[in-house]
């Protein structure tokens, strides 16, 4: 996993609540057995005018001119500005894979669905929770300022606006450590292999039917 320490990036706004994982990456693309290559189909049903299928040459499809991410000013965006309950729906990790593959490293929203929130951290995408009022201001500033960029300082847990205002955010200590160092969860957990084995032995002795 790539480290995440500090990010300065272009911001793209997606002003709707309850954006679900079916919208982020529609199910027909879940047939892939790979982790990469989902970026061209991020928000597929909103982004293109036709119905996407795996194997299509996406560069030849017609883009929906009304969809915000298609506007030239948001090309190359790394930070997605969103609303509440972002990432609701299925557990598909293809959703953060698609965001990452498209180029997003961080999402700012009022709230997230739990599994999506977890999945983001596992892939080096930082989901930041901000209050609705701060998001309102950010949406207004992005709309008013072409080329609008934010800086995310994970170490200090701040989103820095171009006008100098700093928005603090919370993040679990353990998750932050993993992101900042680019640590792999499995390797970390296996440091506790002895403890896991001891727990397992005890459990097997006490509730043998679980190990039949």
């Amino acid at each position: 996993m790539d480290k995440f320490v500090r990010l300065q990036g272009l911001v793209a706004p997606l002003d709707r609540a309850n954006v679900d994982t079916d919208a982020i990456i529609p199910k027909q693309f879940l047939k892939s057995i790979k982790r990469s290559g989902f970026g061209p189909n991020l928000f597929d049903a909103w982004r293109y005018l036709d119905v996407g299928e795996p194997g299509m040459d996406n560069s030849k499809r017609s883009l929906n001119p009304d969809f915000v991410l298609n506007q030239p000013r948001y090309q190359g965006a790394q930070i997605l500005l969103a609303r509440k309950n972002f990432g609701c729906g299925s557990s598909r990790e293809h959703a953060p894979w698609a965001l990452l593959d498209f180029g997003f490293r961080a999402v700012l929203a009022e709230s997230y669905a739990d599994i999506f929130f977890n999945n983001c951290f596992k892939n080096g995408v930082l989901p930041i929770v901000l209050p609705a009022a701060e998001l309102d201001e950010l949406f207004a500033q992005v709309a008013a300022t072409p080329g609008y960029k934010l800086t995310i300082d994970l170490e200090r847990q701040l989103v820095l606006r171009p006008d100098g205002k700093a928005l603090p955010f919370a993040v679990d200590g353990f998750r932050k450590e993993c992101l900042v160092n680019g640590w792999d969860d499995i390797g970390l957990t296996l440091r506790h292999a002895e403890k896991i084995r001891a727990y397992e032995d005890k459990r097997r002795a006490e509730q043998p039917w679980l190990f039949a």
Partner: protein
């Protein structure tokens, strides 16, 4: 101090805890399917790691598999590759059980776990699928996880988790005629919203829940995730224990007695306190129909499509307007005036034997309306299919004009050939009415099996209570 069931289950699984409360919890059962596992098995192999305990794994192919013409195999090459990848991974790694495509016990992962007795009270159950919450009906911590977590569980038998908040949803009193667990689930979501349960573990309790069958409890816990919860569960009682007795992977002989004694403790103590309590009266719950593109956009069958103009909150109003546009509906339309094109009875929410019996009871001796293009019944598993056939339910459905299919996820998410075409409207017993869920441009209305059957007969939504 009195403890909630969640606290008991949590504490009994903590292996290690970090200073910030992130814990490693031990996983007893790992359910695996073809869509969210290939990248996990690949990751494991690339890192040169071995699975920690293969006897915890129960696998099946369900999301991509066709529901007819099984003799032809899987015709879509991309779906076939995904299913074959699972075949190969399980062959290489091993498992307690693998119900492969065309195995007589194959079925939807959340149906085959309980029916084989692989889901037991007191377990932690994970699966790379959000509706893993279904298994909570057995007094388990059942958690839907992502693919990286699937790999993590394969490699370490543990999951990194933070303790959830606790919520009690208490429903009291007898349910009215024609009102089901599905209607309770939708009524709960209508009350707390699709983000109402975020960060929470929901325990369903109260006399209404105690009176539900295991099938009904599974339907309810299945939809806890649609209320935003991390998981949903119900305490263990005689109904749980009677359901499990004699199932293939349930304990036998002395082990059964020991297990039963331990399972009996799996309930919240008297006086245990929850972070939030939500109370509903069963008598207030009517058969529900969703009208929009989120499960919280739901009303009773006698109601009307709501009018966004009456909504004060601007962002909610916009959401409603967008949903009505997508759904092709006008504000204030009576729900009963909405005509449907297709009917889907199936999915891990409502494809168990009790669901099929209830729907068959409604359609028996009647005919599907002429405007219905396709009415599908897709049993949750091969065992359910044969049970239904032995009771003659298939004949009732077919005589009425339904198609009787092979088990799988089918039109719940339309990864196989079963789907809605753009603009088509469906009465569906599944759990998600998101845009495009059942096919690009398709319009989904979530209902109970009884209400789907009633809509099939009338050609539009109608109150199943008039038919009972």
């Amino acid at each position: 101090m009195p403890q909630t069931l969640y606290e008991k289950l949590w504490q009994s699984h903590v292996v290690h805890e970090e200073a910030d409360g992130t814990a490693l919890i031990y996983i007893d059962r790992h359910l695996v399917h073809e869509v969210t596992s290939p990248q996990a098995f690949e990751g494991l192999k690339l890192a040169g790691r071995k699975p920690w305990r293969v006897s915890s794994i129960v696998a099946t192919a369900d999301h991509n598999t066709p529901t007819n013409f099984w003799e032809r195999g899987i015709e879509d090459p991309i779906s076939r590759l995904q299913v074959e990848t699972l075949d190969a991974n399980i062959k290489e790694v091993g498992a307690l059980a693998y119900f492969a495509f065309r195995d007589p016990r194959q079925g939807i992962v959340h149906v085959i776990g309980p029916e084989s007795g692989a889901t037991l009270p007191g377990m932690t159950v994970v699966c790379g699928d959000s509706h893993t919450s279904t298994h909570g009906a057995f007094g388990c911590l059942a958690i839907g996880i992502g693919t990286s977590e699937v790999e993590h569980v394969l490699a370490t038998q543990c999951l990194l988790q933070k303790r959830s908040k606790t919520m009690l949803v208490r429903v009291e009193g007898p349910l009215g005629k024609g009102v089901t667990a599905k209607d309770i689930a939708l009524a709960v979501i209508a009350r707390i919203g699709t983000a109402g349960g975020t960060g929470s573990a929901i325990e369903f309790g109260g006399s209404t829940i105690r009176a539900l069958s295991m099938e009904g409890r599974m339907t309810l816990c299945n939809m806890a995730i649609e209320a935003g919860a991390r998981m949903g569960f119900v305490a263990v009682d005689d109904i749980t224990i009677n359901y499990l007795k004699g199932r293939p992977f349930a304990p036998k002989a002395e082990l059964w007695d020991a297990a039963m004694a331990s399972w009996r403790t799996l309930k919240s103590d008297e006086g245990a306190s929850f972070d939030r309590v939500v109370e509903l009266r069963a008598a207030d719950i009517q058969p529900q129909v969703t009208w929009g593109t989120s499960p919280e956009m739901v009303v009773a069958i006698g109601g009307r499509v709501p009018d966004p103009a009456a909504e004060k909150d601007a962002s909610r109003r916009e959401g409603m307007e967008r949903a009505l546009k997508y759904m092709g509906l006008a504000a204030n339309t009576p729900i009963k005036d909405i005509a449907v094109d297709k009917i889907f009875i199936g999915s891990c929410t409502n494809s168990r034997i009790e669901d099929l019996r209830a729907a068959a009871k409604v359609v028996k001796g009647r005919k599907v309306a002429g405007n219905i293009k396709l009415a599908l019944v897709v049993p949750g598993s091969g065992l359910i299919k044969r049970q239904a056939e032995s009771e003659g339910l298939d004949k009732i459905f077919v005589a009425a004009g339904f198609e009787w299919r092979e088990p799988g996820c089918s039109m719940c998410l339309a990864m196989n050939a079963d789907r809605l075409e753009a603009g088509e409207r469906c009465a569906s017993t599944s759990n998600r009415n998101f845009e495009g869920r059942q096919g690009a441009g398709g319009r989904t209305h979530l209902v109970s099996p009884e209400m789907a059957a009633a809509a099939a007969l009338a050609g539009h939504f109608s109150d199943v209570r008039d038919l009972l």
